[in-house]
Symmetry: C2
Subunit: 209 residues, 2 copies
């Protein structure tokens, strides 16, 4: 199987989100074809078929895809078929917002530990999750089989936290800190740049003028 | 000029971020060619050339692009050449994190008003920005020439806030609330789904197994 590009994976996540909503609205017998899906999502239907083609054949020509089956298949492709254990590093405003975010849990993504260096927060339980100091990263990551870390600490602390996470055996990091972390090849790093989202809007607005 | 797809705009924002860092590291005389840029960013160099081609010719064959010129040109393309005025709706954890986020200001994106319905917060000044009640949306948006709104309110309040923003003449909304807002065609809507970012990581982890 050819490895699909990152951008196809991102689109699969978008398809999944839409299909979940569609299934709730239309019921378990719903079907959809790639042209309909393209119309709803404003994505080219050739692109949709190409994205899905990386993972084998879906649906029948002319009939479309059974939505429930497609949703489940995409969900498994994306690695969401089983429970995942995550840790959150940094319980500031952004970390607190992420801990409260309900979308993760719906996708089997469970934050099971929080790390922060504030003595006032260490030892407390927030939103059902215990807060540990940074020194606990290695034992806690191992104990809970955590393989994904969300980094939402200040810039100055981010590389140190990343180093501890890597030593603990973490396999993927979602980084909100505004710097490029050094991680070994075996660790998957994804940076979230909130201003990139806004830039799409500024482009749109100025291209109208 | 052919309208570039959304995904090219998203990549231009990524190029811009990289070029800013590169310029700081290498100085104002730096040049870069698309193959080097491709190597740093792990994006196909044909793709990079294609993205840039929507906006005319850049650089000279064989010599590469002068980084400063490329950065400025992309910045203008993305509508970042002038100051923009934004409002933030919702000063919970996520809203507070967004208000403190420094990346916006660096790109001429200025949050000049906050709206929240908590009487304790209304009238206060947070991070230099005044907090207003939702009834002030229409006059404040007009007075400050705000054309982009960031919506970080709870799901139940989001459509009502969006309706007020639209009445006030807002042109673009960045929505963090987990629902699809109804907006007229003339208003650009972009939804941020934080779980989509994590899904890229779960895919990577499970595809290794």
């Amino acid at each position: 199987m050819k490895r699909p590009p990152d951008i196809s994976i991102t689109r699969l996540a978008i398809y999944l989100r839409f299909l979940e909503d569609y299934l709730r609205a239309k019921g378990p017998q719903a079907t959809i074809n790639s042209t309909e899906l393209a119309g709803f999502l404003d994505i080219n239907h050739h692109q949709i078929r190409k994205d899905l083609s990386y993972f084998g054949k879906f649906g029948k020509q002319g009939i479309g895809y059974p939505v429930e089956e497609l949703k489940d298949k995409i969900s498994r492709i994306l690695g969401l078929g089983k429970e995942r254990y995550l840790c959150l590093c940094g319980l500031g405003n952004l970390g607190s917002a992420l801990l409260a975010y309900r979308g993760f849990k719906q996708k089997n993504l469970n934050i099971v530990a929080v790390f922060d260096n504030d003595p006032v927060k260490i030892g407390r339980t927030v939103a059902g999750v215990k807060v540990y100091g940074p020194k606990a990263i290695i034992p806690v990551v191992k104990r809970f089989n955590i393989d994904i870390a969300i980094v939402a600490v200040p810039q100055a602390a981010a590389q140190d936290i990343a180093d501890r996470l890597i030593k603990a055996g973490i396999r993927a990091i979602l980084n909100f800190a505004p710097l490029k972390l050094n991680v070994p090849k075996r660790v998957r790093l994804r940076d979230v740049d909130l201003s990139a989202e806004l830039i799409n809007l500024t482009y749109f607005i100025s291209s109208l003028l």
